[in-house]
C-alpha cells in the first residue's frame, strides 16, 4: 500500500489508520493548516446556494400562497363564471342556476375596497352564505351563528389576516370608502383560520350589492355540476350562452390567470438568482482551482511516493464534495433564513405588489432544496475537477518546480468553445418567446457570458502582449506576472466579469426603463391636477352630479373625466383595462407607430396599449370585436400606445362613446387644467369643497403623481438592486479568493523581493497593480458584456415578458463610477489578500524549498 510509505511509523498504525493517510495528507491536513481556504470555498458555495434558495423559496411561497388562496376560493367548484370589473347582470345567475347540469350555483360580488385611514385596499367578497355552504363550505365560519349575523344589515366577517391587518376585533366598525363617501359596517365575526388565507372581508351579497354600489351586478358565479356532467363539454355549451365579456373557466385556469400576471416577474427573479449562483460557481471554480494549484507540489510528492493518479484525483474530488456539501447545507440554512426575513418584512412579492393581500407563509419544497444542495455539491466538484484531474495527470517531477501553476492551465483550450458559445448565444437572442417566457433570451445571455469568459485568456494575453513594461518596478513586475499567467487572470476575472456584466445589464435596463417611464409620465400627465375617487379600490367613483359640480369650480379651465373599467377578452387571461377618456385622448397617449383614424361609417376608434396589442395580436387599422356595454361590436384599432402601468393590457376609448354604449356615466379620475392666474392650492381646496370635503377624494399635482410613480418603480426594483449587489459581492469575493491563493503561492517570491530590497509598500504596490489590471479587464469586459446583455434584456426579455418597449438609455456616468469603485475595491481586495505576503513571515519563506 502506497500510503504506508508516507508514514514513518506505519507499523504503529492500525490498518484502518493507514487507509486514511492520503486523506489526512491531502484533505484534513491542509484543512487544519489553512482553514481559511476551505472556508472561502465553503462561503462561496454557501452564498450561491443561499441566494438561489432564498429567491426560490420566496417565489414558490408566493405562488403556493396564491394557489392555495385561489384553491380555497374555488372550493369544490367545477367551473367559475367571471365577468369584468363592472360585473355582469345578476339575472344570469337564476338562468345558470336553473340549468339541469348545475347542482349548485354560488353568486358573488368581488371588489377591492379602500379602507378609511389605511394604505391599500381590502378585498370584499359579497356572497350568499347559503349558496356558499353548497359549493365552498370551508369558507364559512364553523359557528352557524356567525353566518346568521351576516344577514343582519351592514355586517361583515373578516379573515384572520384581514382582522390583523386592520387591527379590528369583533364588534368593531369598519369604514369602507365607496364613491366619495364612507360606508360603515360592523365586524360581526371571524372567518375560519383555514378558509381564506388572504386579507378578505365577507358580506352578505345583498349588503355588498347595496352598500358597495353594485346593485343588479355580479362579479362571478361558482358552479358545482351534477354528477356525470362532462365539465369541458358543459363549459363550451355554457360559454355560448354567456353575454360578451363574461367567461366560464375551470378554477385552475381562473387561478392561473391570476398567477400569470406575476409569472414573468417571478421568472426574472429566478433568473437573477441563477445568474448569482452561476457567478458563485465561478468563484468556487477559481478558489478550488487556485487552492489546488497551490498544493500541486504536495500532490506531486504524493504521486512520487506512489499514490496512484486515480486515488489522488478521487481524494481531491471527495474533498471538494465534502466542502461543497457543508457549504450547501450552510447555504440552505442561510437561504431559508433570508427568505423568512424577506417574506416577513417585504411580503412574498418583495414589494412588487403582485400578491397583494396574501398572507405570507413560507412554503418549503424538499425536492427543490435537495436540488439546490446537489447543485452546490456539483459546482464544488466541478470547480475542483479540472485542477484535480490535472494535478493527478501531471508528471510529478515537473510540478515540483516553482512557477508551474500556469502550466497547469495551459492544457485548457478555450478559444473555439468560446466562439461557438457566443455565436449560438447571439442567434438565440433573436428567438421568439417560449410559452410567453423569454427562455431563449436567457439561454442567449448565459451562452454569451460563458463564451466571453472562455475567450478571456486569449483576450487578456492578446492585450497584455501589446503593453510595454512600465518604469515602476512594482508595475513592471505586476505586468510580467500577468503577462505570464493570462489563464490565471481569466479565472480571477471570470467572477468579476460575470457579476459586473450582470450589474451593468440590469443598470442599463433599469435606467432605460426609468427614463422611458419618465418620458411616458410627462406625456401621460398633461394636466395640472389629478383628482381621483379612491385610489386603488374598485368602489370609488364620481357621480355625474359631482362631475358637474367639479366642472364649474372656479379656477378650473378644463376638466376631463376618466372612467376605468375592465374587459374580459379570454377565459385564461386577466382582464384588459378599459379607459374611457376625452375624445382627444389619442393625443395624450404615447403612441408608437402609425395611427389610423376611422372614417365615418367605419367602426369607432379604440387605442390599444402595446401589451394588449402583443397579447391579442392586434395591429393598427385592424378591426376588433370588443364586449363594451351590453353587446359586443366592432372597433377599429386606431393606434398602439405605450403603457407601463397596466400589465394585462389596456384599451382607451372616447368616453362619450363609452357612456352611450354602457349608460355608465360615472368617473374614477379627473384631469384638471387650471386657469391662468389661479393658484394650485386654491383650486385644490375649491375642488374639495365642491365635493363636500369627502374623505375618499385624492388630489395630487402632476409633480406628485410623477414622484409617486417613480417611487413605486424604484421600490419594485429594490430587490433587483439587492440581488445585483449580492452578485457583485460574490465577484469581489472571487477576486479576493484568487488573489489570496496566489499571494500565498507566491510567498517565497515576496520573501526574495524583500531580501533584495523591495519594500513592503513596493510589494503592496505590485499586488495593487495586479489587482488593478485584472479588475480593469474584468470591468472592461464586464461593461461590454453588460451592454450586450442589457440590450437583450431591454429588447428581448422585457418585450417578451412584459410586452413593454423602452428606449435605450445608458447611464454612462454611474457605470463609469461603478467601474471605478469596482477597480478600487478589487485593488483593495488584492492588496488586502496579499497582506500576508507583506508580513515578516515571508522572509522565512525563502528557506522553504518547494
Amino acid at each position: 500500500m502506497a500510503s504506508a510509505r508516507l508514514a514513518p511509523h506505519a507499523s504503529a498504525l492500525t490498518a484502518s489508520g493507514t487507509r486514511f493517510l492520503p486523506f489526512r495528507a491531502l484533505v484534513s491536513g491542509p484543512l487544519r493548516e489553512h482553514p481559511g481556504h476551505a472556508l472561502l470555498a465553503l462561503a462561496a458555495i454557501a452564498l450561491g446556494v443561499a441566494l438561489g434558495v432564498a429567491v426560490h423559496l420566496i417565489n414558490s411561497s408566493a405562488l403556493n400562497e396564491f394557489n392555495l388562496a385561489a384553491h380555497h376560493l374555488a372550493g369544490e367548484a367545477d367551473l367559475v363564471v367571471r365577468g369584468p370589473r363592472a360585473g355582469f347582470d345578476e339575472t344570469l345567475y337564476p338562468r345558470i342556476a336553473r340549468l339541469p347540469q348545475v347542482e349548485a350555483a354560488n353568486p358573488a360580488v368581488e371588489l377591492e375596497v379602500p379602507i378609511l385611514g389605511k394604505e391599500g385596499t381590502l378585498r370584499i367578497i359579497g356572497f350568499d352564505p347559503l349558496r356558499t355552504a353548497q359549493v365552498q363550505p370551508s369558507l364559512l365560519p364553523e359557528r352557524t351563528a356567525e353566518v346568521a349575523e351576516l344577514f343582519a344589515a351592514d355586517s361583515i366577517l373578516l379573515s384572520p389576516s384581514a382582522a390583523r391587518w386592520l387591527g379590528l376585533d369583533m364588534g368593531a366598525a369598519l369604514r369602507m370608502m365607496v364613491g366619495t363617501g364612507v360606508v360603515e359596517v360592523k365586524v360581526v365575526g371571524m372567518l375560519p383560520e383555514g378558509g381564506y388565507r388572504q386579507r378578505v372581508g365577507v358580506m352578505d351579497i345583498a349588503t355588498a350589492q347595496w352598500r358597495l354600489g353594485r346593485l343588479g351586478k355580479l362579479s362571478r358565479i361558482d358552479l358545482r355540476l351534477k354528477p356525470g356532467v362532462v365539465v369541458t363539454a358543459f363549459q363550451r355549451e355554457l360559454q355560448n350562452e354567456l353575454p360578451p365579456g363574461v367567461y366560464v373557466a375551470t378554477p385552475e385556469t381562473d387561478a392561473e390567470r391570476g398567477a400569470s400576471l406575476s409569472r414573468a416577474y417571478r421568472l426574472n427573479l429566478d433568473m437573477l438568482a441563477l445568474i448569482a449562483l452561476f457567478t458563485g460557481a465561478f468563484l468556487v471554480f477559481s478558489s478550488q482551482m487556485l487552492a489546488l494549484m497551490r498544493r500541486r507540489a504536495q500532490f506531486a510528492l504524493l504521486r512520487a511516493l506512489g499514490v496512484t493518479r486515480r486515488s489522488l484525483a478521487n481524494w481531491l474530488l471527495a474533498e471538494a464534495a465534502v466542502v461543497g456539501a457543508i457549504g450547501a447545507i450552510l447555504g440552505l440554512a442561510l437561504g431559508y433564513a433570508v427568505a423568512r426575513f424577506a417574506i416577513a418584512n417585504f411580503g412574498t412579492d418583495l414589494g412588487a405588489g403582485y400578491f397583494r393581500g396574501i398572507v405570507p407563509g413560507i412554503h418549503v419544497d424538499p425536492v427543490a432544496l435537495i436540488a439546490y444542495f446537489a447543485l452546490g455539491v456539483l459546482f464544488a466538484v466541478l470547480g475542483a475537477a479540472a485542477p484535480a484531474l490535472e494535478a493527478a495527470r501531471r508528471a510529478p517531477a515537473k510540478a515540483l518546480h516553482a512557477g508551474d501553476e500556469e502550466e497547469g492551465l495551459r492544457g485548457v483550450r478555450t478559444t473555439w468553445p468560446g466562439i461557438a458559445s457566443c455565436a449560438i448565444g447571439a442567434l438565440l437572442a433573436f428567438a421568439p418567446a417560449v410559452d410567453g417566457l423569454p427562455v431563449a433570451a436567457y439561454c442567449a445571455i448565459a451562452l454569451i457570458l460563458s463564451g466571453v469568459i472562455l475567450l478571456l485568456p486569449q483576450f487578456v494575453s492578446g492585450v497584455l502582449k501589446r503593453v510595454s513594461a512600465p518604469r515602476s518596478v512594482p508595475a513592471a513586475l505586476a505586468l510580467a506576472q500577468l503577462q505570464a499567467t493570462p489563464r490565471q487572470i481569466a479565472v480571477s476575472a471570470a467572477a468579476i466579469v460575470a457579476s459586473f456584466s450582470l450589474m451593468v445589464a440590469m443598470l442599463i435596463m433599469v435606467h432605460s426603463f426609468r427614463s422611458s417611464l419618465e418620458t411616458w409620465l410627462e406625456h401621460m400627465l398633461p394636466a395640472d391636477l389629478y383628482l381621483r375617487a379612491l385610489r386603488g379600490g374598485e368602489t370609488g367613483f364620481l357621480t355625474p352630479e359631482e362631475q358637474n359640480r367639479l366642472q364649474s369650480t372656479p379656477g378650473v379651465e378644463r376638466i376631463e373625466f376618466l372612467r376605468s373599467q375592465n374587459l374580459l377578452l379570454a377565459s385564461d387571461r386577466p382582464p384588459v383595462v378599459l379607459l374611457a377618456g376625452p375624445a382627444d385622448s389619442a393625443a395624450m397617449l404615447l403612441a408608437i407607430g402609425p395611427t389610423v383614424i376611422p372614417r365615418a361609417g367605419e367602426p369607432p376608434a379604440v387605442w390599444v396599449s402595446e401589451v394588449a396589442a402583443d397579447l391579442y395580436g392586434w395591429r393598427t387599422g385592424q378591426r376588433v370585436q370588443l364586449p363594451i356595454g351590453a353587446s359586443s361590436r366592432e372597433y377599429t384599432v386606431a393606434g398602439i400606445w405605450r403603457d407601463y402601468v397596466r400589465q394585462s393590457g389596456a384599451i382607451a376609448i372616447d368616453r362619450q362613446l363609452y357612456v352611450n354604449l354602457t349608460g355608465d356615466a360615472l368617473a374614477n379620475d379627473a384631469a384638471i387644467w387650471i386657469a391662468p392666474g389661479a393658484a394650485l392650492p386654491d383650486v385644490e381646496r375649491a375642488l374639495r369643497e365642491r365635493l363636500g370635503n369627502a374623505q375618499g377624494i385624492e388630489i395630487a399635482s402632476t409633480r406628485e403623481v410623477r414622484a409617486n410613480s417613480l417611487a413605486l418603480f424604484d421600490r419594485t426594483f429594490a430587490v433587483t438592486y439587492a440581488l445585483e449587489i449580492a452578485a457583485v459581492l460574490i465577484g469581489l469575493f472571487g477576486i479576493s479568493v484568487s488573489f489570496g491563493a496566489q499571494a500565498l503561492a507566491r510567498r517565497r517570491e515576496f520573501g526574495m523581493l524583500r531580501h533584495i530590497g523591495m519594500s513592503r509598500r513596493g510589494i503592496g504596490a505590485m499586488l495593487g497593480w495586479e489587482g488593478a489590471i485584472v479588475s480593469i479587464f474584468g470591468a472592461a469586459v464586464g461593461l461590454a458584456l453588460g451592454w450586450i446583455t442589457g440590450l437583450i434584456l431591454i429588447h428581448v426579455v422585457n418585450r417578451q415578458s412584459f410586452h413593454w418597449s423602452m428606449d435605450l438609455h445608458v447611464p454612462w456616468l454611474p457605470l463609469a463610477a461603478l467601474a471605478a469603485v469596482l477597480a478600487a475595491a478589487s485593488i483593495v481586495t488584492a492588496v488586502w489578500s496579499g497582506r500576508a505576503a507583506m508580513s515578516d513571515d515571508v522572509i522565512r519563506a525563502v528557506r522553504e524549498d518547494w
Binding site: A97, A145, F151, A206
Partner: protein, 362 residues
C-alpha cells in the same frame, strides 16, 4: 307542531340580540301577532303567511315498498323572516328565507339518511306562494294540486317523489287553529294538521327506484312568537291511528326537564274532536337511547296519556337523530314510531324530541 325544532336559528340570533345592534340599519319588522278569533280558510291558509315570522309545512309518514318493509320519511319546508326589515333594494335582500329538511328512516340502515337545503327567496329560485301550498328551493318542492300535494326531494343520497292525497279534512289544532305553547297568550301559533294522507310515489336510492305507498301526516303552522322563555325543548307526537283516528300531543319542558305546558287533540275517524287541556297530557319516558355522535340522551320510548287515553310509543329504530346544524344549528330526534296499546300496534306516526342535545336556541 313538528318542525319547531328546526326553527331557522339564522334569524333567531338576530332576534335575541336586538338590543346591541341599535346602530344597524333597518327597522324592526312588524310581525303579525297570533290572536284569537282568526278563522282559517282553505285552501287560502294552506299558502304562505309572509306577515308572520315563521312558518312550516311538515310532512311525516310511513312508507312501504314492494317488499313490505316499513320506512319512515320526513319532508319539511320552513319559511322565515328576519327580525329586522331591510330597505335594501337588492334582489338578494333576505326578505324571506327558505329551509328544507328531508330524511328517510330505514331500519335496514339503522340511522337516518338526510339532506337539507337553504336559500333566500330570490330570483324565483326559492319561495313560498300565497293562497295555496307551494314552497320550493331549487329542485326541492312541496306543491298543492287540488286535493293532492306533490312532494319532490332530490337529496344527495336519495330521491323521493310523492303524491299525497287527502282522505280527511284539515284538523284545526288548539282553539279553532290557535295553538298555545305556554302560559303567556302571545306564545302561540296558528296550526292545522292533515292526518291520514294517502302517500304513493317512488323512492330512488343507490340508482334503483322502487314504488312506495303509505300513510302520512301534514302539519302547517305559522307564528311570530313561539317559544316561552322557560322552554328548553319539547316532546311531540302525531299518530295516524289504525282505526282512522288521529292523535297529536306535545309538552314543553323547562330547564329542570319538567313540563310547564302541554296540549294536543284527538279526532276520531268519525270526525269528533277532543282538545286536551294542558294538565290532561302526560308524557312518561320508558326507555332512553344515547347518541354516540352527540352524547345526547333521548327518551325514545314513551307512555303518553292524553285526555284519558293511554298509549305506548315505540320507535321504528332507536337512532333517528337528525343533525341539522348546517342550516339551523340544531340537533334533535325526529323519528317514525308505532303506537301500542297493551303491546298491540294501534297506529303509526312520528315522534319529535328537541332540546336534549342543547337548549333549543330560537
Amino acid at each position: 307542531m313538528a318542525g319547531l325544532a328546526a326553527t331557522p336559528c339564522v334569524f333567531s340570533q338576530v332576534t335575541l340580540d336586538q338590543s346591541r345592534r341599535t346602530s344597524h340599519a333597518g327597522a324592526v319588522t312588524p310581525f303579525a301577532p297570533v290572536v284569537p278569533g282568526y278563522t282559517m280558510r282553505f285552501p287560502h291558509d294552506e299558502g304562505s303567511h309572509p306577515e308572520f315570522r315563521l312558518e312550516w309545512w311538515y310532512v311525516t309518514g310511513w312508507l312501504a315498498g314492494a317488499g313490505g318493509a316499513a320506512i319512515g320519511f320526513q319532508i319539511t319546508f320552513f319559511r322565515a323572516r328576519p327580525a329586522r326589515r331591510t330597505a335594501n333594494p337588492s334582489t338578494f335582500a333576505p326578505h324571506h328565507m327558505l329551509i328544507a329538511h328531508a330524511a328517510i328512516a330505514d331500519p335496514a340502515r339503522g340511522r337516518l339518511q338526510r339532506d337539507q337545503r337553504a336559500a333566500r327567496a330570490a330570483f324565483e329560485l326559492a319561495g313560498a306562494a300565497q293562497g295555496r301550498t307551494e314552497v320550493w328551493i331549487d329542485d326541492w318542492s312541496f306543491r298543492q294540486q287540488g286535493e293532492r300535494y306533490v312532494a319532490t326531494v332530490a337529496a344527495r343520497s336519495f330521491r323521493l317523489d310523492l303524491v299525497l292525497t287527502s282522505t280527511q279534512p284539515p284538523m284545526l289544532q288548539g282553539a279553532a287553529g290557535l295553538s298555545r305553547k305556554g302560559p303567556r297568550p302571545e306564545s302561540a301559533s296558528y296550526y292545522y294538521s292533515i292526518p291520514h294522507l294517502d302517500a304513493s310515489g317512488t323512492l330512488t336510492r343507490n340508482g334503483s327506484t322502487e314504488t312506495v305507498g303509505g300513510v302520512a301526516w301534514l302539519d302547517h303552522e305559522w307564528s311570530s312568537s313561539y317559544m316561552d322563555e322557560r322552554a328548553v325543548g319539547w316532546d311531540w307526537i302525531g299518530i295516524n291511528l289504525d282505526d282512522g283516528g288521529a292523535l297529536m300531543a306535545f309538552r314543553m319542558r323547562d330547564p329542570t326537564g319538567r313540563s310547564f305546558w302541554a296540549g294536543g287533540a284527538y279526532r276520531s275517524a268519525a270526525g269528533s274532536v277532543q282538545v286536551f287541556a294542558p294538565d290532561a297530557v302526560r308524557f312518561t319516558p320508558l326507555r332512553h337511547w344515547r347518541s354516540s355522535r352527540t352524547g345526547a340522551n333521548y327518551p325514545v320510548s314513551w307512555r303518553v296519556s292524553a285526555g284519558g287515553r293511554e298509549i305506548d310509543i315505540e320507535p321504528l329504530f332507536d337512532d333517528q337523530e337528525n343533525d341539522t346544524r348546517a342550516t339551523t344549528g340544531a340537533v334533535y330526534w325526529e323519528g317514525a314510531v308505532r303506537a301500542l296499546r297493551a303491546g298491540a300496534s294501534v297506529g303509526r306516526g312520528y315522534l319529535e324530541l328537541t332540546g336534549y342535545w342543547r337548549r333549543l336556541q330560537l
